[in-house]
């Protein structure tokens, strides 16, 4: 199956050995989300210092696509400022793993790929709104999350 457009070496490798896998106790942001139809289910933990993501971890269960995308997302946002992360687009994540084609070819599996990003957007939104009482900075992240797929 060489040249498989989804199950590349990189995806298999990440699914077996996910990065930033685990829990952060008393994390500043903790958000859970799942895809009810396929059963992918993750928890995302973030610590924020000086408006930057100082630490990020995730755990949960899901398919290889979900695990690989969650791993890569956490790698990509670690150390970034919240302003940068707020602007993070799904294409950036998908292209990192060569999965842009999923948007067109697999409306079912795109949900697996973007679950972590959706969880992140919701998490940051509620961090601003609920914790910082700053709904202006939260912007419309919740709508972006809801419309991601």
């Amino acid at each position: 199956m060489s040249g498989d457009p989804i199950y590349t070496e990189m995806i298999i490798e990440y699914s077996r050995n996910p990065s930033n896998y685990g829990k952060i106790d008393d994390a500043h942001i903790h958000r859970h989300d799942s895809n009810p139809l396929c059963g992918d289910s993750i928890d995302l933990y973030l610590n924020i210092d000086d408006n930057k993501i100082s630490d990020v971890k995730f755990d949960g269960s899901g398919c290889a696509i979900c695990m690989a995308c969650s791993s890569v997302l956490t790698e990509m946002i670690k150390g970034k400022s919240l302003d940068e992360v707020k602007k993070f687009e799904k294409d950036e994540l998908l292209s990192e793993l060569g999965l842009e084609h999923l948007i067109k070819t697999s409306p079912v599996r795109i949900k697996c790929a973007l679950l972590s990003l959706k969880t992140l957007k919701y998490g940051i939104y509620s961090y601003f709104v609920d914790k910082m009482k700053d709904s202006e900075s939260a912007g419309n992240l919740n709508e972006e999350a809801a419309n991601l797929y």
Partner: protein, 414 residues
Amino acid sequence: MQANTYSLEEIRKDFPVLNRRVRDDKKLVYLDNAATTQKPNQVIDAISDYYKNHNSNIHRAVHALAEESTEAFELTRDKVAEFLNIQDPQEVIFTKGTTEAINLVANAWGRDNVKEGDIIVTTEYEHHSNIVPWQLLTQDKKAQLKYIDIDDNGELKLEQLDDYLATGKVKLVACSHTSNVLGTISPVKEIVSKCKNAGAKILIDGAQAVPHMKVDLSELDCDFYAFSAHKMLGPTGVGVLWAKKEILQEMTPYQGGGDMIREVHKYETTWNDLPYKFEAGTPNIADVIGFKNAIEYLQKIGMDNIREHEKELTKYALERMEKVPGITLYGVKDLEKRGGVISFNFNDVHPHDVGTIIDKDGVAIRSGHHCAQVLMEKLNVAATNRASFYVYTTKEEIDVLISSLESVAKVFKL
């Protein structure tokens, strides 16, 4: 199996979709029959003929078309009765599926017969449609819901049923005839007899049994039996609830509306006779009519032949699947106790990854929790893969499945 009555080649010619090419021009290998089966021309043509030549509402008007469609609709009821050896066709109630049939019982029968402290028993391998209606009912009535667990073989621990029945509080036992995930065939005769002795009602979900084996409801003698047309070559949106007349007569209606009434006044209504009392509103006329052709198709092949064919396929598939690296197979080994359903997993590979990879070879299986999350919890998995067979499945298709599964093992280096 008599070769002259079972020509796979002839059967497959009746199913246009089986000629489909999918993905990269791969021949479709359809192994998701426990979810829904394909439809033969005989069913598709009957539906199309109804709309082209007879379309009319039933049971009311006196014009020619109304008479024709009423007659055709009622002929399906007679056919269902004949097929399952039901003495009185009035005991056959059309619903939109098994789920609605079970909800009908939970609502209409449950409303009047279940009270605080009573027990409803179901099993660990039920479909959500035979769990959630009972959760809603027992929560509403402050009654209790109990489960018959399964053992390591995937068989019911019937001694638990004895314990529940011994309390004298069990009002109803709801059990599937065949598990949609494990394929286990429940010992329904034994369960019915236990329930009778204890004075509990017994509902059987036959969605995975009626399509695959001979079912004789006079002999089985349960109280309620439910199944769906679309899992037996028939159209979607049609199901059947069978119940004994004396129970149905006692029950208050499930839904109110047209067709289910005798007389309606401003503040009171009297009910129509059976079965119409439980068929409010314009039913799914075209699909009910098409369902008759599905039953006739199965009768022509013969239910015993279908059972034998599926047993042979299951044996063949199990023997070959066992050898695929990294695979875990679920369910009983004894072919007498299981239907043509095989659930499996690959080590740590998520079923959706398996489903996606083999889909590229044109193989359609189901990956997920199969609406049986209670069972998934018991098996300690999030999901499984499930291949399920039917009248038109060939050994060559199972060979394609196997080689496709071998490629999954290769991709994931198992």
